[in-house]
């Protein structure tokens, strides 16, 4: 077992006890990256080789020099008797949607390929202040638009460490792949429609979307301002709780960050779950899927072994004393995707207005043009297809003549979706749930290139995660087994606003109860 195969909790404990040095852990991480990651994503990607197809390609920018300085500083502090913080010496990767000072902060896009951020996002800065060692920026769908990480302008895009012929999911695919491949124990991702939870499920790791406003969005290159949530990705629940505690909390730079005290999440983990009321909803076992041939919407059951995994988890939890409540109605779940198409696109189109070639990022080289031409060409040349698609849809549904029927309507449907959760979590309601237990995704990972290009189908993989973004509530995906082809299955817990403690508690209980199960001993393909 290499140093880097340990959990974040173990690493930081040993470092503080003097058993390990931060530099040693860093070197272990770098060695693993050299072994499994292959070449980082780049704009001029050349031809994909057979070699490429076996590697993870999580990274865009490996910031080795910077990381080494940080690790050396941690070791220096320890020697002087100063506590470097709760994440002392833990290597982490940062989804390249965050600005980190003096690093290329690209959003996976050509339009920011040359942008060096002059400031650091609050969530990343908090990791650094806690002693974490920032190893680099990892790859993602361009501007987080996608569910497979394939749309990045930086190719090769990340691959699933369990089977590199498959996608890692997205948009935080680089984050989950880097954690699943044991390159680092922790990664900072973002979740707007499921972008932490879905790739976490595909990659067999833990991914948590906090309550909206629990973690500051300052420095997160915005997609859907009312939906975006930075969150932790880890190999186990304890590590996720540790990281969440570090990054959560109010921020004077973010007006939408709640002025609420951050509880001790690690306390919550150890609590007994007997009596916890956990609901299962039939609305999460079927999805409305656009038929690839006809384009008509059809209702389909989710993948069989995914469904089985959820029911198995329910049994395990029941065995620990939880009360499983079945047939919980969540009637507005099916509206999640159409509503997301509208709200997120309106916000995205506006958020992407600033990429105009004027003051940073890509500007067209074509000379002698007037200003309007400069805008049009810079944006056409700088943005990939996915951003263009979202921008145009955003323009359409917010245009003056359509705004009422699309955007205003979608904001109302959002209330309805929120209403579903409020009803089931209501302590005086009919269900009085502490949490909902659902599958994270309708299927396990799909093959590279299988879905990309079909924007509709790609989006619908988020159907089971997106409602939590609309409602703002927290959600977590944890590994719950492997499917018949050896690909990870994820299950999801959802709870009421600011009840990250509940979903961590339930997740930890399941994790501990199943820690010796055979499937947990199987390693991802790249680590074999």
């Amino acid at each position: 077992m290499a140093l880097i195969d340990q959990t974040a909790t173990e690493i930081t404990q040993k470092i503080k006890q003097g058993e390990l040095s931060a530099v040693d852990v860093l070197d272990s991480a770098l060695e693993r990256i050299r072994a499994v990651d292959g070449r980082p994503g780049a704009l001029d990607d050349g031809i994909k080789s057979l070699e490429d197809e076996k590697k993870v390609h999580a990274f865009i920018s490996l910031t080795e020099v910077r990381a080494r300085k940080q690790a050396e500083e941690i070791d220096r502090r320890l020697q002087s008797g100063i506590d470097p913080g709760p994440l002392a010496g833990v290597p982490v990767t940062i989804k390249d949607i965050f600005c980190v000072k003096d690093t290329l902060s690209t959003a996976g896009s050509r339009i920011l390929a040359n942008f060096t951020a002059p400031y650091t996002a609050t969530s990343a800065a908090r990791l650094e202040e806690a002693g974490a060692v920032l190893l680099g920026k990892v790859n993602l769908d361009e501007f987080t638009f996608g569910s497979s990480s394939e749309s990045s302008a930086f190719q090769p895009s990340p691959r699933n460490p369990w089977n590199t012929a498959y996608v890692p999911g997205g948009s935080s695919g680089g984050s989950t792949a880097s954690v699943a491949a044991n390159e680092v124990p922790l990664s900072l991702g973002t979740d707007t429609g499921g972008s932490i939870r879905q790739p976490a499920a595909f990659c067999g790791v833990v991914g948590l979307k906090p309550t909206y406003g629990r973690v500051s969005r300052y420095g997160l290159i915005a997609f859907g301002s009312s939906l975006d949530c930075p969150g932790p990705i880890a190999r186990n629940v304890e590590d996720a709780a540790l990281m969440l505690h570090v990054i959560a909390g109010p921020d004077p730079k973010d007006s939408t960050a709640f002025e609420r005290v951050v509880p001790d999440y690690q306390e919550a983990l150890k609590k007994d779950i007997s009596g916890m009321r956990i609901g299962l909803s039939p609305d999460y076992f079927n999805i409305t899927f656009p038929d690839p041939k006809t384009g008509e919407l059809a209702r389909q059951e989710i993948q069989e072994d995914v469904k089985k995994a959820v029911y198995y988890a329910a049994e395990v939890l029941a065995g620990l004393g939880a009360e499983i409540v079945e047939d919980v109605p969540m009637p507005n779940t099916a509206h999640g995707i159409p509503t997301y198409f509208v709200i997120s696109r309106v916000e995205a189109a506006s958020n992407l207005h600033r990429f105009d070639g004027v003051k940073y990022g890509y500007r067209t080289e074509k000379e002698g043009r007037d200003l309007n031409e400069m805008y049009r060409l810079s944006r056409a040349e700088g943005f990939g297809l996915q951003p263009k698609l979202r921008i145009l849809m955003g323009m359409y549904v917010s245009a003056a003549q359509y705004s009422e029927q699309y955007y205003q309507r979608a904001l109302r449907v959002r209330s309805l979706i929120r209403g579903d959760f409020e009803a089931v979590f209501d302590t005086h309601g009919s269900y009085r749930l502490d949490a909902l237990l659902t599958p994270t995704t309708p299927t396990t990972a799909f093959k590279m290139d299988a879905v990309y290009g079909d924007s509709l189908l790609m989006q619908y993989t988020d159907q089971l995660t997106v409602s939590a973004n609309h409602a703002g509530i927290p959600g977590i995906s944890i590994p719950a087994g492997l499917d018949a082809s050896g690909l990870p299955i994820g299950i999801q817990f959802l709870a009421a606003d600011f009840r990250e403690d509940i979903i961590l508690q339930a997740s930890y209980a399941f994790e501990q109860a199943t820690k010796d199960e055979a499937w947990r001993k199987v390693k991802p393909q790249v680590l074999q």
């Binding site: 959003a107 973010d254 007006s255 916000e347 004027v358 003051k359």
Partner: protein, 478 residues
């Protein structure tokens, strides 16, 4: 000959004088700073940044809304106005679209002709300013220093009826803004900017016709000239049987010409939506009530009071209440002196204001405090000094910062009312100027003034003028 009337509405952008910008901690005033030196990630629209609302902007905006008698919304919202322009780094402006801070209200403008024009206010809202651009050899140079400076946009109903009224509106608005302390309102620095909407209609008609928008008229004169020119143009068009088109116009005050800006066939679609990065602005009802109660006496109220209580002519009262510090100075002088208010007014308008103009300061920065001025006036009344001495004392007090009594004592400036001393001086003047004495005695009585001047010189300006004149007449006439 058809008689037309002009229908004018004004949209003003008022730069608030807070210390910092509306959504970030950069300075609100960076006049004269090198380009792109007063910027930060937030106001330069870097990826990933978020706005955080400045408390003082809300306070000053609310004060202005209260002074305009507007309804102050307890919950107002910010919205995004999306469009592309190089001086707009985010590609959208954060503004307030449909649920703004203030709605309704009015502003009364007294016109020199004697009537009062009441202008209804449509809305008052908070928003951020854009940067500055300038043309240079076919390129645009952009400076973001001004991005994010807090603005209040105030839109009137089309209640103004002439270019003069529009000019007066700006003059009174500027006075009020400075009075309330919410803006420096210096039009040369762009603290107060104005767009005018102009249309005409046949006198007596109730209908509103197509209007044109004149953008960026940024001085009082420019407003007057631009509107006058546009009214003339529209009348010409209509008389020639053509229709007025909804153009957007640009006025060049130097050449006195109107240019047409690109006319938009369709209105720009700004795709307004609620700003998700800001929470609704919630004001405490008790706080708003307190704000309204604490409003200072407004300029026109004070002017009216000065006319009433001091018996001053309107002209004087208008000048004295031109600014709060001026009127405070006047009131303090009155409290100290207690004598004829018109006397104070004369000295204030002629001498004090003249002095502050020359020195380039405001009255509250004078070394001549209201108390000192009061003392000088008292000394004149008590005949301790004459008026000429009094005037020269002003300069001396300003330069030395000494109280006037001390200077009088030190320089022996006291009024010479000693009969014998004056006689002595007059005798000397008569003896030295036999020619003029003969002329006077021969009938040129206008020389009396000259003699008076000579005696004044002889006595270092200290002779009591009345007494001197009396004795002069006595001795000259023989």
């Amino acid at each position: 000959m058809t008689e037309y009337e002009a229908i004018i509405g004004l949209e003003t952008h008022i730069q608030l004088n807070t210390k910092t910008k509306i959504f970030c901690g950069c300075k609100a005033d960076s006049w004269g700073a090198p380009p792109n030196s007063n910027i930060c990630p937030v106001c330069s629209g870097l990826p990933g940044v978020l706005p955080v609302l400045n408390k003082a902007v809300v306070e000053k905006g609310a004060i202005l809304a209260a002074a305009m008698h507007a309804d102050i919304r307890l919950i107002s919202y910010f919205d995004r106005k999306n469009y592309f322009y190089p001086d707009l780094p985010k590609g959208y402006q954060i503004t307030q679209y449909d649920q703004a801070l203030g709605s309704g209200g009015y502003f009364e403008i007294p016109m020199p002709e004697g009537y009062v024009r009441r202008v209804r206010i449509h809305k008052l809202h908070l928003e951020e300013d854009a940067g500055k651009t300038k043309n240079e050899q076919g390129r645009r140079l952009i400076d973001f220093n001004r991005c994010g400076v807090p603005l209040v946009e105030m839109v009137t109903e089309p209640d103004l009826r002439s270019a003069d009224e529009a000019a007066q509106y700006l003059i009174r608005l500027r006075q009020l803004l400075r009075w309330l302390g919410v803006s420096e309102a210096d039009m040369e620095k762009g603290h107060l900017r104005c767009d005018a909407n102009v249309s005409i209609r046949v006198k007596g008609s109730k209908k509103l016709n197509t209007k044109t928008e004149i953008k960026n008229v940024n001085s009082i004169d420019a407003v007057r000239n631009a509107i006058t020119s546009e009214i003339e143009r529209q009348i010409k068009e209509v008389n020639a049987g053509r229709r007025v088109q909804a153009w957007t116009l640009d006025w060049d005050d130097e050449t006195g010409k109107m240019w047409m800006m690109r006319s938009k066939e369709t209105e720009a679609d700004y795709r307004y939506f609620r700003e998700p990065d800001l929470l609704p602005l919630q004001l405490d009802e008790a706080w708003v009530k307190g704000l309204i109660a604490d409003l200072p006496e407004l300029p026109l109220e004070r002017r009216e009071r000065f006319v009433r209580e001091y018996g001053l002519p309107l002209y004087d009262a208008d000048i004295i209440t031109g600014s709060k510090v001026r009127s405070d100075y006047y009131s303090s002088t009155d409290a100290s002196y207690g004598g004829d208010p018109k006397t104070i007014s004369n000295w204030f308008i002629n001498d004090i204001l003249g002095m502050v103009n020359d020195l380039g300061i405001t009255v509250d920065a004078l070394n001549i405090t209201p108390q000192y001025l009061g003392t000088i006036l008292k000394m004149i009344d008590e005949k301790k000094i004459n008026v000429a001495t009094g005037k020269s004392l002003l300069k001396k007090v300003q330069e030395t910062k000494q109280p006037p009594e001390a200077i009088v004592a030190a320089e022996g400036l006291g009024l010479v009312s000693d009969d014998a001393a004056i006689r002595e001086a007059i005798q000397a003047v008569i003896a030295e100027n036999p020619g003029e004495v003969k002329s006077f005695r021969d009938g040129k009585e206008t020389l009396l003034g000259w003699f008076l001047g000579q005696v004044m010189r002889k006595t270092g300006g200290k002779a009591d003028p009345k007494l001197t004149r009396q004795i002069l007449v006595e001795l000259l006439r023989g």
